[in-house]
Amino acid sequence: KQWYQRRVRGWVVSNKKEKEKKETNKHQTNQIEMSSSNPVDKVHQYAEKAKGGGWSAAKDLLRYLRHSRQRFPELVLKYGVPLVENYSSKLGNEFWEYFEMVLIAAFDCGDDELSEKYLEKIRKQFPGSLRVKKLEGMHLESQGKFSEAAQQYTAILKESPTDAFCMKRQISIFKAKGEFQTAVDLFNTYLQIFMADVEAWGELANLHLSMGNYKQAAVCYEELILSAPQNYLYYSKYAEIVYTIGGIDNFRLARKYFSHSLSLNDKTNTRSLMGLAACSYAIASHSHKESRNKDEGKDISGELFGFVQTRLEDIYSNAEGTEKTIFLGVLYKMSEIFFYVEK
């Protein structure tokens, strides 16, 4: 889950669909943090608390959003604006960090009026600051002034040539303009310098997927797996990508990777269960058609499918009636291919 929910602030792609700006206590906070809900659900829990009012709950929400690096700019504006405007004293020496967070959310939501107002305030407070220059660049991006923004970042890079943030913003500009190939080339240059930037590999993978470059996306996921061999999500996604490329060898490879993902997490990994079902079915269909490796279709794929079926039936026992019937029906139809092969 984390890979697609984590948004690195440096990767804000400013061109997005338009959204107009809309209008506890410590023990409870820890409860949310420690709960086993996924990060997105936690955001909603924090937001519910913040709805109840109070600067403390608003601060907790913003803090969680920052730490979990998730992108909910509308929530940041909704709860952050009153926070920084009315409770600056409560924020103490963290004030300007929260202020910057709200400013970036204003860029993200395309709220020009708020952006100008807050940018002016931060300029006055930190004249000549490099960090403020970067915010100016992001402001230009949010207005769609890509050439000016690019110039801004180039100027900063002249002074500090290893500024990763500015390099990433430049890549984002090309992505926002739809010039994907240029973005990919810049990415490759960036990753030669900053090869440990895990989020960059993830973003590059997404870029390749949007271009239909499945092989290159797979390579990115190989890097991600190497960087975090205990992360079940990377194996699952890698399996999905190689399956998409297709062919019996890739179905077998995907089967291995989905299985490995499940060995790391078999509690909340429905994607891999479904992926494994798809692989087993695809391999069995293939074997059945070509009369080759009939045993493979019967033994390994059949067993794996049986395992998956049991797990999925378990998970779906709690589901709503219609979906449960539909899904179990589908599983049953799929399982028939294994009965056929056995004959």
Binding site: V13, N38, R71, E320, I326
Partner: protein, 190 residues
């Protein structure tokens, strides 16, 4: 061929796009052939807010087909909708085209609907959808033949947006993270 879209289907597509403003979104369109030259689009099943990949897509399609077979309304799959990630990107991606072409194998008048992101708004004044059709293996071309079945469609969508119905909106990706959430979205009461 004329395509007429119900308020429910229109709203769902728009809600899907609003829920995930930073990702591409797509899904399957359901409806029926109501006469020899009219397709009625009744509903949509929202699929993904990630780049579509084959294994989960295949399983999702099997479930949607099963749903159609069992549905009392005798719905069939009549097309595919997609919203690009970038605001002013109107390109038809390779996977998007492939999916729509595959659907034409089952239903020759299957259509492709692209969301025009620039027309998305909390106060919609015009349709944000662009219809694409394809005849006899040629290219996908823009077609003006998409109409609302109900004159109040935009107003109804505006209400759904004001009620922030995207919060409880569930697509297949979200369902996989949390199987107790229903991708049929009956709970939204659209």
């Amino acid at each position: 061929m004329n395509y007429i879209i119900s308020p429910k289907a229109y709203s769902k597509i728009i809600l899907h796009a609003h829920k995930y403003p930073f990702s591409p979104v797509n899904g399957i369109i359901l409806g029926r052939l109501s006469s020899k030259d009219t397709v009625n689009i009744e509903d949509v099943i929202p699929l993904f807010h990630t780049h579509t990949l084959a294994p989960i897509f295949e399983i999702a399609m099997m479930q949607i087909e099963e749903y159609c077979n069992k549905s009392e309304d005798k719905l069939i799959i009549v097309g595919h909708y997609h919203a690009n990630e970038i605001l002013d990107d109107a390109r038809l991606g390779m996977m998007t085209r492939r999916i729509a072409e595959k659907l034409q194998g089952e239903f020759t008048d299957a259509c492709l609907i692209m969301v025009d992101n620039t027309k998305l708004s909390l106060h919609p004044k015009e349709s944000a959808l662009q219809l694409y059709t394809r005849k006899n293996g040629s290219n996908w071309e823009q077609s003006p033949s998409l109409r609302f079945s109900n004159a109040s469609t935009l107003r109804l969508t505006e209400e759904d947006l004001q009620n922030e119905k995207w919060n409880k909106f569930v697509d297949f990706d979200l369902h996989l993270d949390n199987p107790s959430k229903s991708w049929l979205n009956a709970h939204l009461d659209l």
